[in-house]
């Protein structure tokens, strides 16, 4: 029998179809493992029908889809699978929120949000796929969203 590289989890959340190479950034955005003590496994460049992908598995923790939505900035095709007793009981596509607060820094060095003012970075959604966002303050659109993740 061919041994699976990634073993199924009994309970928890599987984030599938992450843009290849972005799994670590996804963990960073979700503040995992800082935000939980769950066992986390990461697979990168996994072959699939639609080409390569990354996968993240978080055991014994069901992530709130709204919490996970923010990863769609860098992984717009990702799916969130909630697993109970080895069965997928819920499956969602990530959905980019209309406002993204405190996740991405503005690419404009002279934007007021990059100075020592008491505000978090704030972006408004321009386009869902491909993701395009613009700074609420200076109205610039960053080219390199993945590089701007805080």
């Amino acid at each position: 029998m061919k041994k699976l590289k990634i073993t199924p989890i009994k309970n928890g959340t599987v984030i599938d179809h992450i843009t290849p190479g972005f799994a670590v950034k996804v963990l960073h955005i979700l503040e995992i493992p800082k935000s939980s003590s769950s066992v986390v496994s990461v697979a990168m460049n996994v072959k699939s029908k639609l080409g390569k992908k990354d996968i993240v598995k978080v055991e014994n923790r069901e992530l709130d889809p709204r919490e996970v939505d923010k990863i769609s900035l860098i992984a717009p095709k990702a799916t969130i699978n909630i697993i109970r007793d080895y069965e997928v009981i819920e499956k969602h596509r990530v959905h980019l929120p209309d406002e993204i607060i405190g996740i991405v820094t503005c690419s404009n060095p002279t934007c007021i949000s990059n100075s020592k003012e008491p505000v978090q970075s704030r972006f408004l959604l321009v386009n869902k796929d491909p993701p395009r966002i613009k700074c609420y303050y200076c109205e610039r659109e960053p080219d390199d969203i993945a590089e701007r993740i805080i």
């Binding site: 002279t110 007021i112 949000s113 020592k116 008491p118 505000v119 609420y136 303050y137 200076c138 610039r140």
Partner: protein, 312 residues
């Protein structure tokens, strides 16, 4: 159509619909005799404007202050931030909280993009953006539209050539968007290194206008109805070498005007340095001083509308 502007911030021209802009421009026409001192109205009596200028300004600051005085209001503020607590390290947010408690309306100019939007978050009173770095300058945009509208009766149907520093020049970013909103044809003329940012071009296209871009002014002049000239701004360049490469690339002079349509109008947000020959000033083409005056009725209109004290 009656619209409500009471307590609204004026941060970016994009915060306003075409109908709202048209309303403001038509209302500004009513303000012209008041701006000239031919009529009097004390709409701003007992109102105080905070005029917070963190960057140098002549026209924006003086015309805002003139607008407030003409309407019977008073002005506090500064034109040099080195004389304020910013020098001691105070945040903009805290300075705005102070101005908010001392006045009924705030106008701010600041070298950093997004500063006015931030100010509006921390102020209860309405905030007007008097220019934020290379970002937005909505009141300049409105007075530019007002100037074209009063001179040409319509904005649509004009081929407007925007010339000069289209990369760092904040007035041209707001203006290109607004002209596209009104359906004007747009031609962008700049040195290659100072081209219009792609976001602005994309916005024009989203509004159904396909701007053409060139570095050849002579070619663009022949079809121009409005020539909007901007200064290449030394203060926006990251280094002097880049500035020296492009300064003086274009000069509007009598020779160039031989190519122009007879009814061309030349506008400039001012200050000009070398880009318009002073010999142009006495020709019927020159509209930039009248344009600068138009800042007063337009700003009177805005102050009056957002403070809910409109002319009958």
């Amino acid at each position: 159509m009656k619209m409500s502007f009471t307590n609204r911030d004026i941060i970016s021209i994009k915060d306003f619909s075409k109908q709202e802009i048209t309303y403001i421009l038509n209302y500004a026409k009513k303000m012209v005799p008041y701006a000239k001192g031919e009529k009097n109205a004390s709409l701003m009596k007992n109102k105080i404007l905070s005029s917070l200028f963190y960057e140098p300004s002549t026209r924006t600051r003086l015309s805002f202050e003139s607008a407030m005085h003409r309407l019977g209001g008073r002005v506090i503020g500064f034109a040099d931030p080195t004389a304020t607590s910013q020098k001691k390290g105070e945040s903009l947010a805290d300075s705005i909280r102070m101005a908010d408690s001392y006045s009924d309306v705030i106008v701010i100019r600041h070298p950093q993009e997004g500063a006015a939007r931030l100010a509006a978050e921390f102020a209860e009173v309405p905030v007007l953006n008097g220019g934020d770095g290379a970002g937005q300058h909505p009141t300049q945009c409105l007075l530019d539209l007002f100037t074209i509208l009063t001179e040409r009766k319509n904005i649509k149907g004009n081929n407007v050539v925007l010339l000069g520093d289209l990369r760092y020049g904040r007035t041209v970013h707001s203006l290109a968007y607004a002209l596209a909103l009104f359906g004007a044809d747009l031609t962008f003329v700049s040195p290659d290194t100072l081209r219009m940012p792609k976001e602005v071009i994309a916005e024009c296209k989203d509004l159904g206008v396909e701007p053409s871009s060139t570095s050849n002014l002579d070619k663009a002049m022949k079809d121009a109805d409005v020539l909007y000239v901007t200064r290449i701004q030394r203060e926006r360049f990251p280094d002097a070498e880049e500035y020296n490469k492009v300064v003086g690339t274009y000069k509007v002079d009598l020779e160039l005007l031989k190519l122009a349509k007879k009814n061309l109008i030349i506008m400039h947000p001012l200050p000009r340095v070398v880009e318009i020959d002073p010999a142009i000033d006495v020709t019927p083409y020159a509209l930039y001083f009248k344009q600068a005056f138009n800042g007063v009725p337009v700003r009177m209109a805005l102050l009056s509308l957002i403070l809910g004290e409109a002319l009958p």
